[in-house]
C-alpha cells in the first residue's frame, strides 16, 4: 500500500473542522481538510456568532469549565489569526446579558443559574442577576417591560462569517490541502492507514478527525465511534445597518461590528434549512421590540434559518476510537465559542495521537450508555 499523503485528514470544512485543521498545521502536521460543496448544510454560515459562557454546563459541570477555557483563550486565538492573515474577526468580550420580560422569567433565570452553580465541580463564573435600573445603566435603550437580566462578564461575540473566512485563509497559508466536494462515503483502516473514499477519489492519512457536524452521526460508526445527534432548526432576523447603540451582546439579540442587528434564539425540531416559519420570526421580532423599543420601525433586510449542530444531550463529544486507533470525533453545538479550544487544545492532542483525558474525558460519547457510565 502507498504511504499516506497526510498525517491527519479532517472531515468537515466548517468552523470546527477548519479550527482543528489550523491547529494541526500549527503543530507541524501535514493536513487534508475534506469538505462538501457549496450546497452543504453548513451551520458555520448561519450561526448567531456569540462566544458565550452563561448558562453553559447545567447537567454537565465540566462543560462550564471547558467553555470558560475557550472564552479565556479567544482573544489570543483572534490575535494569532490576525498575525497570520491580517484579518480581524472582531472578537469583543464586554460581557453579555440574558434579558427577562417578566418577574416569572427573571425568577426562572435565577433558578437555572442557582442549579448550575450548585453542581459539584462547577467553576463559578459569577453571573449576576440585575434589576431594571442596573441593566439600564449598561443598556440605556431597554424598554419598560424588561424587569431585569442576568449578566456574565465572560460573554462576548465575534464576526463569525469573517472567522470562517479567516480560518480558511489561515489554513491555506499553512499549506493545508482543502478538498471541497469530497463527501466521505466510507472509511476503512488498513495496516495503520485510514482510507477515505469520496466521489473524487481516495484520500489516505495516518489519522482521521471527524468534524462534520450532524453528519458525524453517519461517519462515526465507520471508525468504531458514535455520535448521537439531534439537529434542530433556528431562525435569525437581520436588520439594516444602524449606528452603534448596543454595547453588549444579549443572548437573543446583538449588534454586529458592521451595524446590523441580529435577532434570534428560536429552536424547532426539523432539519430542512430551506423552511422559514413566519410565526417564529415574528415572535422573535416582537420580543426584540419589547426589549428595545427603538427597534420598532427598523427595517428587516434578511431572515434565514439554519440547522444547529446538536448532540443528543447538547454537550460536546470528543472521543477517540478503541477499535480504530488514530480516529477521533469532535461534535459540538458551539463551534464559535469553542473554536479557540479546538485550535489550541484539541488539535495538539490529535497531533500527539491521544486525547488528554484530564481535560476531555467527561465529553466521551460513552456517557450515552448508562451502564458504562455508572
Amino acid at each position: 500500500m502507498a504511504a499516506s499523503e497526510y498525517d491527519v485528514v479532517v472531515v468537515g470544512g466548517g468552523l470546527v473542522g477548519a479550527a482543528t485543521a489550523w491547529g494541526l498545521a500549527r503543530e507541524g502536521c501535514r493536513v487534508a481538510l475534506l469538505d462538501e460543496g457549496d450546497r452543504a448544510v453548513r451551520a458555520s454560515r448561519g450561526n448567531f456568532a456569540l462566544v458565550w459562557v452563561q448558562s453553559k454546563g447545567l447537567g454537565l459541570a465540566a462543560y462550564a469549565g471547558w467553555t470558560i477555557r475557550s472564552s479565556e483563550a479567544w482573544a489570543g486565538f483572534a490575535g494569532l489569526l490576525k498575525d497570520e492573515t491580517g484579518l480581524d474577526v472582531c472578537f469583543q468580550r464586554p460581557g453579555g446579558f440574558h434579558l427577562a420580560l417578566s418577574e416569572k422569567e427573571l425568577e426562572a433565570r435565577a433558578n437555572v443559574l442557582k442549579r448550575l452553580h450548585n453542581q459539584p465541580g462547577i467553576v463559578d463564573y459569577k453571573t449576576e442577576i440585575l434589576d431594571h435600573s442596573q441593566v439600564a445603566k449598561m443598556l440605556p435603550d431597554i424598554g419598560p417591560e424588561v424587569v431585569g437580566a442576568s449578566y456574565c462578564s465572560l460573554d462576548g461575540h465575534v464576526n463569525s462569517l469573517r472567522l470562517f473566512r479567516t480560518l480558511h485563509q489561515a489554513i491555506h497559508a499553512r499549506g493545508v490541502a482543502y478538498l471541497p466536494s469530497h463527501r466521505v462515503d466510507d472509511i476503512r483502516r488498513e495496516g495503520g492507514t485510514f482510507r477515505l473514499f469520496t466521489p473524487q477519489g481516495e484520500v489516505r492519512a495516518g489519522r482521521v478527525a471527524l468534524a462534520a457536524g450532524n453528519a458525524n452521526m453517519r461517519l462515526a460508526p465507520m471508525v468504531g465511534l458514535e455520535a448521537p445527534m439531534k439537529p434542530e432548526r433556528g431562525q435569525i432576523v437581520v436588520t439594516e445597518r444602524l449606528r452603534p447603540f448596543l454595547n453588549y451582546p444579549v443572548v437573543t439579540l446583538r449588534q454586529t461590528d458592521e451595524g446590523t442587528v441580529m435577532i434570534g434564539d428560536s429552536k424547532e425540531e426539523g432539519t430542512d434549512p430551506a423552511r422559514l416559519t413566519l410565526g417564529v420570526a415574528a415572535t422573535e421580532a416582537e420580543r426584540a421590540v419589547r426589549q428595545f423599543p427603538l427597534l420598532a420601525n427598523v427595517n428587516v433586510v434578511r431572515t434565514w434559518s439554519a440547522i444547529r449542530v446538536m448532540t443528543g444531550d447538547g454537550f460536546p463529544i470528543y472521543d477517540e476510537s478503541e477499535t480504530h486507533p488514530g480516529a477521533f470525533v469532535l461534535c459540538c453545538h458551539s463551534g464559535v465559542t469553542l473554536a479557540a479550544n479546538h485550535a489550541l487544545t484539541v488539535a495538539p492532542m490529535i497531533a500527539r495521537g491521544a486525547l488528554d483525558k484530564s481535560l476531555v474525558a467527561p465529553f466521551s460519547a460513552r456517557r450515552f450508555h448508562v451502564q458504562e457510565a455508572a
Binding site: D141, R241, L242, F292, N297
Partner: protein, 96 residues
C-alpha cells in the same frame, strides 16, 4: 443636471429644512434630482456619496429620511405637501 419639460411644480416639500418645489406625482427621488440635489446619502461603511440610481425600488441607493423615518426608498414614495425629507449620513440611527 435635469430640467422639467413643462409640468408646473405644485407641491412643496422640505429637504434638510430648505423648501423644494415638486410636481404632484413625483417620487421623492425624482423631486430631489429635479431640484439639483446631487446626493441623497453617504454609505454606512465607506461614507461614499450616493444618488438615486435605478428609480424602480431595486438598488436602495436613494435611501433618505422621510418624516422622521430613516432608510426609506425615495423612489417608491410619492411627494406629499409638507413632507419633511432629510438626506442621510452613514448608518441610520435606531429610533429614527
Amino acid at each position: 443636471m435635469f430640467k422639467r419639460l413643462h409640468d408646473t411644480p405644485t407641491v412643496t416639500i422640505k429637504v434638510n429644512g430648505q423648501t423644494v418645489r415638486a410636481r404632484s406625482g413625483d417620487t421623492v427621488a425624482a423631486a430631489l434630482l429635479a431640484a439639483g440635489i446631487d446626493h441623497c446619502r453617504t454609505t454606512p461603511v465607506t461614507g461614499a456619496p450616493r444618488a438615486p440610481y435605478c428609480l424602480m425600488g431595486v438598488c436602495f441607493d436613494c435611501l433618505v429620511t422621510i418624516d422622521g423615518i430613516g432608510n426609506r426608498q425615495g423612489c417608491l414614495v410619492p411627494v406629499r405637501e409638507g413632507m419633511e425629507v432629510a438626506t442621510q449620513v452613514g448608518k441610520r440611527e435606531a429610533g429614527r
